[in-house]
Structure formats: structure tokens, C-alpha cells
């Protein structure tokens, strides 16, 4: 047996086959991205007449038009605003409730597990049944545009955050909080000074996961945001698709401009994203 065989326990032929298969899967995953980047340098006429041809020159016209027409800066500003406000609120709310469920003593044990399970129900609820009712509730409580989006986003995060926070907080040793209480901490001090620093890894995972969710969210945004000036990136993406004609090159350039920051974000926070997306699934 040679060295490479010992790595996998397969014969050399099977080994080559395995690498070929893995390469094919990787190509399948990235080919649409590469295709998009190549198209983004071509004009509409070239895309329509001869999509396969390589771009003759690096034509940045599409990008210029996309940035100008879309007001990309504004889309980013709106998206970031909604992300920041929603996540600030949901972190305060769900961390507190998860702390109560994980650490505080309930007189009746059943109440606690019932509440916990109730808060997890949301994992099975499809947003599409909520769209119109949420729109109605927003008009009743006088929330609209961006603030109208914040509330459903916070509510959508409750189940996932509860799952991760309660799971993590339960594992923390309770001797530490008892020592802090004996030293005279009140509830607020205990949470902010003692618990939050210990929970940093899970908070990071929750934040990164929710940034991604809100950043990509389309159905709620399409129903609740009416003014173009309040649009988020996900809504802006379909801007170039008119009812009767489609500006393909504008669409592809704007999509590229939205994807690239997202892929960079993924590159940086890959660990948190992957662990958040899988932890939520595996524990649920």
C-alpha cells in the first residue's frame, strides 16, 4: 500500500475517481458564479446574440449603470439599518428570555418546558402564511416601511435564538452565577458582566446567522416596503426586471455587486455561519 491509499483506504483507481467526483461537485457549485462574472462584462446585445462568446473587452459600463440606476449606496444603507435595529432588539429580548428558561428556577417545572417548546414552534411555521396577517397587524399598530419589517424579523428569530441560547446557557456552570450573586450582583449585572462574556461564541453565531437571514430575506420585504427609497438589497435585485422587458446586463451587474460582499462576509465568518446553520438543524 502506498501513502495515498492509507489516507482513504481505497485503491489508486478508486482514489482518482473520488477526486474527480469531488472536483465535479465543486465545479457544479461555482460554475453559476463564474458564468455570472463573465456575463457581467458584456453588453445587452452581446448577451442576447452570443452569450457563449468571451467578453472582448473588460466593459465596466454595466457596473456603472447598475450603481447609478439602483442607487446601490441607498440599498446598502437601508439593509444595514434594518439588520442593526432588528438584531439589537432580538438579542436583548431572546437572550433575556433564554436566560430565564435556562437558568432561573420556575416554581412549576412543566411551565418551563412548555414555554420552551412553545417558543420552538416557529421553526415549523412558513413565513408565507404570515405575510398578509403581519401586514394587517402593522397597519393596526401603525408600523410601516422599515420599522414594519423589524418586528416580523425579530419574531422570526425567536425560535432559532431560543434553541441556540438555551442550549448553550444550560451548559454553563451555575457555580459562577451563584458566586456572583453572593458577591452582590443583581440580575442585570449578573447577565451583563458575567453571563454575556461567557456566551460570546454563541452570540456571535446567532448574530452572523441572523445578519444573513435578514440580508437575504425577500418575501416580507416585498410585502411591507412600498417606497423605492426604502428598498433593501434583496428587493433591489429584481429592479432591472420590468414587466415587459428585462435589462439583462444591468441585472447581472447588480447581482454581482450584491453577491461579492456576501461571499466576502461568508469567507470571514464561515465558521459561525456553518455552525449556526447546522447547529440549528441538528439540535432541532
Amino acid at each position: 500500500m502506498n501513502k495515498s491509499n492509507r489516507r482513504t483506504g481505497f485503491s489508486t483507481g478508486a482514489q482518482v475517481g473520488i477526486y474527480v467526483l469531488l472536483t465535479l461537485v465543486v465545479l457544479l457549485a461555482i460554475l453559476p458564479f463564474l458564468w455570472m462574472i463573465m456575463l457581467s462584462f458584456k453588453g445587452n446585445s452581446q448577451i442576447l446574440s452570443n452569450p457563449l462568446s468571451f467578453p472582448t473587452t473588460i466593459n465596466l459600463e454595466n457596473y456603472r449603470r447598475a450603481i447609478q440606476l439602483l442607487n446601490l449606496g441607498n440599498l446598502y444603507k437601508n439593509t444595514i439599518f434594518i439588520v442593526v435595529v432588528s438584531i439589537a432588539i432580538e438579542l436583548c429580548f431572546t437572550f433575556a428570555s433564554s436566560f430565564a428558561l435556562a437558568k432561573m428556577t420556575f416554581r412549576c417545572k412543566k411551565t418551563r418546558s412548555a414555554l420552551y417548546e412553545f417558543l420552538l414552534l416557529g421553526l415549523a411555521i412558513s413565513p408565507f402564511i404570515l405575510l398578509f396577517p403581519v401586514y394587517r397587524i402593522n397597519t393596526i399598530v401603525h408600523l410601516k416601511e422599515q420599522m414594519g419589517l423589524v418586528m416580523p424579523y425579530v419574531a422570526s428569530s425567536v425560535s432559532f435564538n431560543t434553541l441556540l441560547f438555551v442550549g448553550y446557557l444550560k451548559e454553563l456552570p451555575s457555580e459562577i452565577d451563584e458566586a456572583a450573586i453572593i458577591d452582590g450582583c443583581n440580575l442585570g449585572q449578573l447577565i451583563i458582566r458575567v453571563i454575556v462574556p461567557m456566551a460570546k461564541p454563541v452570540i456571535a453565531t446567532v448574530v452572523v446567522f441572523n445578519v444573513l437571514y435578514i440580508w437575504n430575506e425577500f418575501p416580507f420585504a416585498s410585502v411591507i416596503l412600498h417606497h423605492t427609497s426604502n428598498y433593501t438589497l434583496a428587493l433591489g435585485a429584481s429592479f432591472f426586471k420590468g414587466k415587459y422587458n428585462i435589462d439583462y446586463s444591468g441585472m447581472i451587474a447588480s447581482s454581482t455587486l450584491m453577491i461579492i460582499p456576501e461571499l466576502i462576509f461568508y469567507g470571514i465568518f464561515q465558521k459561525n455561519i456553518v455552525s449556526g446553520m447546522t447547529a440549528g438543524a441538528v439540535k432541532g
Partner: protein
């Protein structure tokens, strides 16, 4: 901890989350079901019409088309993803060079916005400007195929795009399950001289039962939420033939302004997805019992 666990404290900690969860998650479902028994055009008051919307739904040709398309998407995506993601996970579980880099590339489609996924695949599937047909034409195999916008293929294409988007994500979940199989068991099986297939059939798959269930549930709930992909590829058209349950309820509600009817579609869709989950659980429990006995 019980020192600080006075009732007032606990309530204070729980109430904000509970309030927002009730108002924006639980009550809306009741509202949706409520509206499904009314006729409401957005002006004036909703008129209660009993089961009229549900009767109409059974007679509505487009509803059956949407149901059929959703079923096609679900079956194809389910088979492709359950098997495909498992194979990819097995690959990534081997001791291969560059596997973590490969894994992060394969995972990347799950990170980008579904709406962009839809746009991206327009440029691949579109009969006129798409990559696939451009290749077919340049090889001289005729004018290509109507992958989207034709009479039959759109749901198949939607399933494939969804497969592309979810493959790496679900493979990663499978991979987490594979990593939980104790090394000792794998080694013991290897020493006993089991072939790769035997090991897979009698050790790996039985030990992965709960992970397989997780993935199945994710695929079921996920396929009932596919929206942006359809919306970008065909927007349910032409003439509603590529509509899914979700896109049809969305367009009935927000494009046509038939809020009552739209909510009956949304309610039915929601319950269908719950029923599919229940059926899956029933089947997998049965099979588990048979194998034990």
C-alpha cells in the same frame, strides 16, 4: 440561582420575547385562517363566506396545477438532495487533500440570497440567453430546450436549482452526523473485513437515522418555501402553468388583491406541509420498528 428567581423577575425577562412572538408569529396564523373564511378586497370590511373559498379552491384549475408542480418539485428535490448530499458528505468525510476548501465552495450557494440564486439561474436556463442552450446550439444540436417557460420542464428546473442551492448545506449536516459515529465501530467493521458497501448499508446508514430525519424535514419544509427561484425564473407563468402553491397564494393575495382566497391557499399549503412531515415521521417510525423486530 433561585435567589433571583422571583416571579416578577422571570416575567420581566420573558415578556418581551413572548409578546413579539405571539403578535407576529402565533396570532398571524389565526388571522390567516380567519381571513380564509371571508371575502376581502382590502376596502371596507371582510365578509364572512364560510367554506366558499375552500370550495372554490377545489374547482380552481390553477390550484391543481400549482399542487402538481409543488409535488413534482418536492419529489425531485427530495430524491436528489437526500442521496446527493449524502454522497457529497461521504466524500467530504474521507481523508482527502483540499477537502475543507472544497467544502466551503460547495456550501457557498446556501449563503447568497435566494432571489439572486433565481437571477443567476435565469442566465443558465433561459431558452434564449441561457448557458445550457447556448452550448447546445453551438454544438449543433438544434435550438435547445425550453428549460423554463415551457409547458412541462419548469418545475424540474426549479427542483434542480433548489438542489444546487441546498446541496452543500445539507451535505454539511450529514457530515456532522457522520462525525458522530464512533471511530471504534468503524475500525471494528474494517477489521472484520466488511466491504465499503456493507459498511455503508449495515453501519453508517443505520447509525445516521436521526440525521437523515433532520435532513428530510429540512428538505420537506424547504421545498414548501421555495418562492424567489420560481418568481425569478418564470413568475408562475406563462398563464399560471408553472405556479407553485406558494407563488399562487402570493399572487392571489398581493397581485390580485383577493385576500380571503389567498389566505385559504396559504392555509391549505401550510397544512399540506405539516401533513407531509407527519407522513414522513409515520413512515420512518414504521421502518425503524420493522428493522428492529
Amino acid at each position: 440561582m433561585h435567589w433571583l428567581s422571583r416571579k416578577r423577575n422571570i416575567l420581566m425577562m420573558l415578556i418581551p420575547t413572548l409578546m413579539i412572538y405571539l403578535v407576529y408569529m402565533i396570532i398571524p396564523i389565526a388571522i390567516a385562517i380567519g381571513y380564509s373564511f371571508t371575502k376581502y378586497t382590502g376596502i371596507g370590511k371582510a365578509k364572512i363566506v364560510g367554506f366558499n373559498n375552500y370550495m372554490r379552491l377545489f374547482r380552481d384549475h390553477t390550484f391543481w396545477i400549482a399542487l402538481k408542480n409543488t409535488a413534482v418539485i418536492f419529489v425531485i428535490a427530495f430524491v436528489l438532495l437526500m442521496i446527493g448530499a449524502f454522497v457529497v458528505a461521504l466524500l467530504l468525510n474521507l481523508n482527502l487533500k483540499g477537502k475543507s476548501f472544497a467544502q466551503s465552495l460547495i456550501f457557498s450557494p446556501a449563503v447568497i440570497a435566494p432571489i439572486i440564486v433565481g437571477i443567476l439561474w435565469v442566465f443558465i436556463l433561459d431558452p434564449q440567453i441561457g448557458l445550457i442552450n447556448a452550448i447546445i446550439r453551438s454544438l449543433g444540436f438544434g435550438q435547445g430546450i425550453k428549460w423554463i417557460g415551457g409547458k412541462t420542464l419548469t418545475p424540474v428546473s426549479v427542483a434542480i436549482v433548489y438542489f444546487w442551492q441546498q446541496l452543500g448545506y445539507l451535505a454539511t449536516i450529514y457530515l456532522a452526523g457522520l462525525k458522530m459515529i464512533p471511530v471504534e465501530i468503524e475500525e471494528a467493521v474494517q477489521i472484520d473485513g466488511a466491504s465499503v458497501w456493507q459498511k455503508l448499508r449495515y453501519v453508517t446508514i443505520p447509525m445516521m437515522r436521526s440525521t437523515i430525519s433532520t435532513v428530510a424535514i429540512l428538505v420537506i419544509t424547504g421545498t414548501f418555501k421555495i418562492f424567489e427561484i420560481v418568481q425569478q425564473l418564470t413568475n408562475g407563468g406563462p398563464n399560471h402553468i408553472s405556479e407553485t402553491l406558494i407563488t399562487y397564494s402570493y399572487s392571489a393575495t398581493f397581485t390580485n388583491g383577493e385576500y380571503g382566497y389567498g389566505m385559504s391557499l396559504a392555509t391549505v399549503t401550510f397544512f399540506i406541509s405539516l401533513v407531509v412531515i407527519a407522513i414522513y415521521f409515520g413512515l420512518s417510525k414504521e421502518r425503524g420498528r420493522k428493522e428492529v423486530s
